[in-house]
């Protein structure tokens, strides 16, 4: 009997201990009767005069440093043409497959030029590419005016009606699901992959692919785009850059033999030229374009806000002074980043995924641009040693022709403004 009592007693204590292990404290309530007397105070305000000392700078990404080549034919806006200069082949070529015997290259039999179009307007009709032979002396200082009038006027090599080639029946690859359209007469083809990129493959016969011994096979070409109306496309670069496959005729003990060059030729220069040149920087805040422009804004947060409040949301409001011009596909991102140190135009940017915010700029739109900068504002609150500087730049930088210009702080009615939402300090301990 005594044992049973003790067991019951133990069970009761164990039940109490189990109950003590967890807590459930959520219940319905009703304010104001069953809430604290003080509430969080939200402030939603516009800081109209906190941004100042703003300025714009151009030249951050030059055309030959851009991630892509821009082709555009936008009458009244811009005419942009990609250029390539391919590597040399050398004067001699292996003529016997089982030997290392080389023969002098006499001439070109043919060549195949391949390049990627990474973005194009599928709704635009009559898009046509024209390939021009350019002087091999082109370099990064070559301007549109040096080439037109000039090679772009009198050195047409091939014309590729892109639309008509795309309209031909295609053959779908069962593995890659890419679709190949072939012009058997001209020997050209295009391959549209699942990312809607177009691999253009142009056959150049001996009259179009000239082997100049003095240049040891170095050649340069340029592309001109046209369409029924506005036309704009992006041509690949680097990993998606242009290649040239030579098929050459070499001398083998007095006998001309045809041989393929042992390797694809890449480019030593891939750039683009355009007209008119980029507009000069003025008092507005320019962002984007080529060469890329950036604008630097300096923020002076009121001390009570910087030191005491908790920011829920901060939005940078920018009023366009000049809308971006181009075609619809030329929209781009404007991103706001901060800097490690404020050295003006050469301020090193903080590059991370947290302290960058962006807004898309649509061509022709003049609506107020809103960029979320909450993370930046919170960063400056937590570390007052960081310069409260915002750099506006385009993304991708130097790879879109349009640029946008915002009103600067000097334009009182349209100056950059911060829309700030924050919580005031809660009066802890106050009844």
């Amino acid at each position: 009997m005594r044992g049973i009592r003790l067991a019951r007693f133990g069970l009761a204590i164990a039940a109490a201990a189990l109950g003590a292990c967890t807590e459930q404290v959520t219940a319905p309530g009703q304010c104001p009767n069953y809430c604290p007397t003080r509430r969080l105070t939200l402030v939603d305000t516009l800081l109209r005069t906190s941004i100042g000392k703003d300025s714009a700078f151009r030249g951050y990404v030059l055309p030959h440093r851009a991630a892509a080549l821009l082709a555009a034919n936008l009458p009244g806006i811009v005419d942009s043409r990609p250029l390539w200069r391919f590597t040399t082949i050398g004067p001699r070529l292996v003529v016997v497959a089982t030997d290392t015997t080389q023969g002098t290259i006499e001439r070109a039999d043919s060549a195949r030029l391949q390049f990627f179009i990474t973005r194009y307007d599928t709704l635009e009709r009559g898009q046509t590419l024209r390939l021009y032979r350019l002087p091999v002396t082109i370099d990064t200082t070559t301007t549109f005016a040096m080439l037109d009038p000039g090679p772009f006027a009198d050195s047409l090599v091939r014309t590729l009606p892109l639309d008509s080639l795309l309209a031909r029946p295609g053959r779908r690859d069962s593995i890659t699901h890419s679709v190949t359209h072939v012009d058997t007469l001209a020997g050209d083809s295009i391959v549209v992959d699942t990312l809607h990129r177009i691999l253009v493959s142009l056959k150049l016969d001996s009259s179009k692919a000239r082997y100049v011994a003095a240049d040891t096979g170095k050649v340069a070409y340029g592309i001109r785009l046209s369409a029924d109306s506005l036309a704009s496309m992006v041509v690949g670069k680097d990993a998606l850059g242009a290649t040239l496959q030579w098929y050459l005729v070499a001398d083998s003990l007095g006998v001309p033999v045809k041989r393929a060059a042992p390797a694809l030729r890449g480019t030593t220069l891939a750039t683009f030229v355009f007209n008119p040149p980029a507009a000069r920087i003025d008092s507005t805040l320019a962002v984007g374009g080529v060469p890329a422009a950036r604008s630097v804004l300096r923020l002076a947060l009121p001390r009570p806000i910087r030191d005491s409040v908790q920011i829920l949301r901060g939005t940078l409001l920018l009023v366009p002074a000049v809308a971006a011009r181009g075609v619809r596909a030329d929209s781009f991102l404007v991103q706001a980043r901060t800097v490690f140190a404020d050295f003006g135009a050469k301020s090193p940017l903080v590059i991370d995924l947290i302290h960058v915010d962006s807004a898309r700029i649509h061509v022709g739109a003049t609506d107020t641009v809103r960029i979320e900068i909450t993370n930046l504002l919170q960063l400056w609150q937590t570390d007052s040693t960081k310069p409260a500087t915002i750099v506006l730049s385009a993304k991708p930088e130097g790879s879109e022709l349009p640029e946008i210009r915002f009103y600067p702080s000097a334009a009182a009615a349209y100056r950059p403004t911060i829309h700030l939402t924050y919580l005031q300090p809660y009066p802890f301990g106050v009844p």
């Binding site: 109950g19 003590a20 404290v25 959520t26 009767n33 919580l423 301990g429 009844p431």
Partner: protein
């Protein structure tokens, strides 16, 4: 403001004020609904009863509450655990006993979650606020009691009120473009108090207890700055115990507390209790009922409470160790809120 979940520990009635006052009773006294509180040397209510403690004794208690709170059309179940009492007492001279220990003076743990919305940039933005306090104010008591005669014992105590609470306020918008933010602070509380009591044996079977207490104020400091000083109440109470036989003891008690000065929503309170301890030997049965008013509430009148309690005790090691068990059913009502609480109490007492 819409309906909202609300989290509160002990009682929602204390959220808008100082907190929820603790009960200065051991498991034995609580099992009789507080009726034996003035006569229980291990309850930190009255000091004079220490004079009859005899030998060194230590006690501690824990309580687990299962609470159903009904507010409007919503009912929620809550569960919480507290360790509100630790006390050491003993006789240091033939007529003199001392005691030191702590009990909960104010429970300041609560958490309130509210749903609301605000128009920002012309768009209605719903959000959730979470305001919380986690802490308490403890009553550290140093008490002495002396038996002047067979009929009269006196006691006095000095009280130091000390405590802290971690306070937080958080707002989270449904629209994630608005970042969730949280503010926190540590609040510290302090105050002082004195109390005195007397135990008068009118007859061998009938004993009367009287007690009084005065606390000065509760000072709140946040980040080193005083944010509030709130007057604390004066209290007085008494009780009567009737022992017709060794196996039957009856008691009744009443108390008055002047919480009114603690600010808006505070009331002076009366409370009463009656109880009995039946049976002799190792496991008596304890019963009791109590009622009265709560110190804080949102309405024009003080909320009320009523409780019944029962319990027993089990002795071990020839009485050197005691385990007290109690069960209390409590109902609090007022200003639209209805709280119904089951509380399981466990006390451990050691008498080496």
């Amino acid at each position: 403001m819409g309906g909202m979940p609300l989290a509160a520990q002990d009682s929602q009635y204390g959220i808008r004020s100082l907190g929820t006052p603790g009960r200065w009773e051991s498991v034995r006294a609580r099992s009789t609904a507080g009726a034996f509180g003035p006569f229980d040397p291990l309850s930190p209510l009255m000091e004079a009863s220490l004079a009859d403690l005899g030998r060194l004794t230590a006690t501690a208690m824990a309580g687990t509450s299962f609470r159903t709170a009904t507010l409007g059309n919503t009912t929620s179940a809550l569960r919480e655990t507290r360790f509100p009492l630790l006390l050491l007492a003993g006789q240091v001279a033939p007529q003199l006993a001392l005691s030191a220990g702590f009990t909960t003076y104010l429970d300041k743990s609560w958490s309130v979650s509210t749903r609301d919305s605000v128009v920002l940039s012309g768009v209605n933005k719903p959000f959730t606020d979470l305001l919380a306090s986690d802490g308490s104010v403890a009553d550290l008591r140093l008490a002495a009691a002396v038996r002047l005669s067979r009929r009269l014992a006196l006691g006095a105590a000095f009280h130091v009120l000390a405590g802290s609470a971690r306070l937080s306020a958080q707002r989270t918008f449904d629209d994630t473009l608005y970042h969730a933010v949280r503010q926190t602070a540590d609040a510290r509380y302090d105050g002082l108090g004195v109390s005195g009591s007397a135990l008068v044996g009118l007859t061998p079977e009938l004993t009367v207890a009287l007690w009084g207490r005065s606390d000065n104020r509760l000072r709140t400091k946040v980040a080193g700055a005083t944010t509030a000083e709130i007057d604390l109440p004066r209290m007085a109470g008494g009780g009567v115990r009737f022992t017709p036989s060794p196996s039957a003891r009856f008691a009744a008690a009443a108390a008055w507390r002047s919480w009114f000065h603690a600010g808006p929503g505070a009331f002076n309170t009366w409370s009463w209790s009656v109880g009995a301890e039946l049976g002799s030997g190792a496991s008596p049965i304890r019963l009791g009922a109590r009622g009265g008013q709560l110190a804080f509430g949102p309405g024009p009148t003080a909320p009320t409470e009523f409780a019944v309690a029962a319990g027993t005790v089990r002795a071990f090691s020839q009485g050197h160790a005691l385990i007290d068990l109690g069960l209390e059913r409590l109902v609090r009502q007022g200003s639209g809120l209805d709280e119904r609480v089951w509380t399981l109490l466990v006390g451990i007492t050691l008498r080496p």
